[in-house]
């Protein structure tokens, strides 16, 4: 079994400021890790994923996340946010071994203001 903890339900930030959305996971086996984003009135979209290889992964819109196995974390960062980044962000984990459902955290609402 696995679980995901997103400690911050809401993160308010000013435009052009840096942001970090925290994600910690628990699993007895090796995992794949994901961040999904849900913009207002839209469905969830994959933002970035860690499957293997480099522990630092990036999205096309400037977000990055680093897999830290020792701290069981996969925090999401962006050095300078835009108003358009306002959305709910979900961290998710699935097991590497065989079939596994995707287990989601409760989400973090990123609120970017001018």
């Amino acid at each position: 079994a696995q679980s995901v903890t997103q400690l911050d339900s809401q993160v308010p930030v000013f435009e052009e400021a840096p942001v970090e959305l925290r994600c910690n996971y628990s699993s007895s086996v090796s995992v794949y890790l994901f961040w999904y984003v849900q913009y207002p009135n839209q469905g969830l979209q994959l933002l970035l994923k860690y499957l293997s290889g480099s522990t630092l992964v990036e999205s096309i819109n400037g977000f990055e996340a680093e897999f830290n196995k020792s701290q069981t974390s996969f925090h999401l960062r962006k050095p300078s946010v835009h108003i358009s980044d306002t959305a709910e962000y979900f961290c998710a984990v699935s097991s590497r071994s065989g079939y596994s459902t995707l287990t989601f955290g409760k989400g973090t609402m990123l609120l970017v203001s001018p």
Binding site: Y32, Y36, G43, L44, L46, S94, G98, T101, F104, G107
Partner: protein, 113 residues
């Protein structure tokens, strides 16, 4: 189709009525998932289909909930004798591989009065 399609997008029903929610996955995606998103909560896994079979139904909250999938395509989630606590957005997703890259529909918002 181009993406995962769900219908209806909104459904308001009275307590005790049955509802059916439909999902059309991306063509060729063999895996199909149903999740529930209640207000202020994360995504709650309901059921997973691989082809037409459901190897994991562990998330269905009660026997009032059932789902089927036919022709390795369309899936229907049925909720019988709806209760107010069933009010939520029901999300369908499909995927091609087991590495968890799910493609989500926009959801069906169910309101039980």
């Amino acid at each position: 189709g181009a993406g995962v399609s769900q219908s209806p997008s909104n459904k308001v029903t009275e307590k005790g009525k049955d509802v059916e929610l439909r999902c059309d996955p991306i063509s060729g995606h063999t895996a199909l998932y149903w999740y529930r998103q209640r207000l202020g909560q994360g995504l709650e896994f309901l059921i997973y289909f691989q082809g037409n079979s459901a190897p994991d139904k562990s998330g269905l909250p009660s026997d009032r909930f059932s789902a089927e999938r036919t022709g390795e395509s369309v899936s229907t989630l049925t909720i019988q004798r709806t209760q107010q606590e069933d009010s939520a957005v029901y999300l369908c997703a499909s995927s091609l591989v087991l590495t968890g890259e799910l493609f989500f529909g926009e959801g069906s918002r169910l309101t039980v009065l």
